[in-house]
């Protein structure tokens, strides 16, 4: 065995080991979460999904209804997606179709910088500067769904925009030129031809973004208000699943029902993420040949 083949076989063994341990860790983690979450189902049962009351520490009659949190998570994720997906596409489209090379460079570096800002900083910024403004509009609580969604928008916009821009950029340039050669405007070429050719990448960006929003914890913990109620409007506070886990896991007695219900929240998030990832895979395979 020469030195080179030895090096090669060591390298490939190393890579295989690392990849394999990744899978093992994932499986262990999933099994662990399912194991810890199962008592919630046996002890609380359907109430998890039907009750809106979350009184996990009431010693006489604890209630473990997750409905309010589940709706809070979906509401915030939905609203944020409504902001961030169109905005991300518009930015990506502008970068791809209209920006000069210098503009692209400047905007891309701004995006890269912004995507490096820790979420706790964005949370603090929203809390200190933006949330107080809501009083001016007669909204009763400064920490609410709208503020949380705006914070999440700032957090995920760079990610969404660059993913979508990469998707459009990866389309062969000749396709755009083909459309221009027929007399179409840049807008039509970008919108009808390039976006369509990039559709699987764009949808993938959509799904990754939604996945990221639904799992985000810090911003919602800081500015969503933390009230486990069913929101009636976007000015109501909410307590998403992630924030619930983060704020209560530290104080809960290990092995208690409350503990197990928190793991159940985690399981719900895991299932969402799993479903979104599967959807992304399906879309990509389906669109290989449009």
């Amino acid at each position: 065995m020469t030195a080179r083949t030895l090096k090669y076989s060591i390298n490939s063994t190393l890579i295989n080991t690392i990849a394999f341990s990744g899978i093992v860790i994932l499986v262990i983690l999933t099994v662990f979460i399912i194991k810890e979450a199962t008592p919630a189902l046996t002890n609380v049962g359907a109430e998890l999904f039907t009750s809106v009351y979350w009184y996990p520490t009431n010693s006489y009659d604890p209630e473990f209804g997750l409905l309010a949190m589940l709706i809070g998570s979906l509401y915030i994720t939905g609203l944020t997606s409504l902001f961030v997906l169109p905005l991300g596409y518009i930015i990506a489209f502008f970068l791809f179709e209209y920006a000069s090379p210098t503009e692209v460079r400047v905007i891309k570096s701004a995006i890269d910088l912004l995507s490096g800002v820790p979420s706790v900083i964005i949370g603090a910024f929203m809390l200190v500067y933006v949330a107080p403004l809501t009083f001016k509009f007669g909204i009763y609580t400064p920490e609410n769904i709208l503020i949380a969604s705006l914070g999440l928008t700032i957090l995920s916009l760079p990610y969404t925009a660059s993913l979508m821009q990469e998707a459009m950029q990866s389309v062969d340039r000749s396709l755009k030129e083909g459309a221009l050669a027929l007399g179409s405007t840049r807008f039509t070429a970008g919108f009808k031809v390039v976006s369509r050719a990039a559709i699987s990448g764009i949808l993938n960006a959509v799904i990754l973004t939604v996945n990221r929003i639904i799992g985000e914890t810090m911003v919602v913990l800081m500015v969503a208000g933390g009230a486990a109620i069913i929101p009636r409007s976007l000015f109501d506070p909410a307590k998403p699943l992630t924030a619930t886990i983060a704020s209560e896991m530290g104080e809960v007695a290990q092995g208690s029902v409350h503990y197990s219900v928190l793991f159940f929240c985690g399981l719900i998030l895991l299932i969402f993420s799993f479903l979104l990832t599967i959807t992304a895979r399906v879309i990509i395979t389906k669109n290989k040949h449009v």
């Binding site: 062969d172 000749s174 396709l175 030129e177 083909g178 027929l182 007399g183 179409s184 369509r196 040949h289």
Partner: protein, 256 residues
């Protein structure tokens, strides 16, 4: 130079194109005759594509590209501020080296251009689609699959689809940039025959790396070398007796 009495459809005048500091083509003056096939030939990197892509201003897509001089189409400088690119490109179509079918059905590919230029009625579009596909001698092969994705066609079919797509907007000139270099010999022959049929209706300018192809199909020939136009004339005349030693070297295969 070959003197012709007719006004050429496209007249290039003292035209130069630069990629930043680098010369793409320089001081080109040449006219392209109506209802003729003109082949642009020369070694790789000599500026063939640059010249062709300057005619319909496709090189505007390259940010560092700058031009000097004029290119006249129907007497109007295509680089003037008044030109409406949408209308102009409707009249001067282009087919690229690699086929560029859009990610949509065969029907939609052909209907894309006419819709862009205002044709709305379904019956009109149906007619245009069928006629264009017939002109590109593709109709019989795809008539039952019009709703299927154009990406499912073979390379040669895709290229004929792109020709049909260009024809669908009723152009006067068709620019082809090495349209057969990605195709097998049979598909190539097919395209060559097609181009020879189309020339009775359209003015054709074709860039080719394939000298034999240029000799087979073209009426006129432009020989370029390192950004210069070295020789222009009737293909038969150039092949028989090139005026410039550089052309002769190319024709005899010393340069390629």
């Amino acid at each position: 130079m070959v003197e012709t009495t007719k006004e050429p459809v496209i007249q290039v005048k003292d035209f130069s194109g630069f990629y930043g500091e680098k010369v793409g083509v320089k001081d080109i003056t040449v006219g392209f005759e109506k209802n003729k096939i003109t082949a642009i030939i020369g070694p790789s990197g000599c500026g063939k594509s640059t010249l062709l892509r300057s005619i319909n201003r496709m090189n505007d897509e390259i940010p560092i590209y700058k031009t000097q001089g004029k290119i006249l189409f129907e007497g109007q400088n295509v680089y003037s501020k008044e030109i409406n690119l949408t209308h102009f490109r409707k009249k001067v179509g282009m087919v690229f080296q690699r086929p560029t079918p859009f990610p949509m059905s065969i029907y939609e590919n052909i209907a894309f251009g006419p819709k862009l230029h205002g044709t709305k009625k379904k019956t009109d579009l149906d007619e245009i689609v069928e006629n264009s596909l017939r002109q590109a001698s593709l109709f019989n092969e795809v008539k039952d699959d019009l709703k299927k994705s154009a990406w499912g066609l073979s390379g040669g079919q895709q290229q004929r689809l792109c020709i049909a797509r260009a024809l669908a907007v009723d152009p006067e000139v068709i620019l082809l940039d090495e349209p057969t270099s990605a195709l097998d010999p049979i598909a190539t022959k097919h395209i060559e025959n097609l181009v020879e049929e189309l020339v009775s209706t359209y003015t054709i300018i074709i860039v080719t790396h394939n000298l034999a192809q240029a000799v087979r199909i073209s009426d006129y020939m432009v020989y370029m070398f390192q950004g210069d136009l070295v020789e222009y004339g009737q293909t038969s005349a150039i092949v028989k007796q090139p005026a410039d030693p550089r052309t002769e070297e190319y024709l005899t295969g010393k340069v390629s």
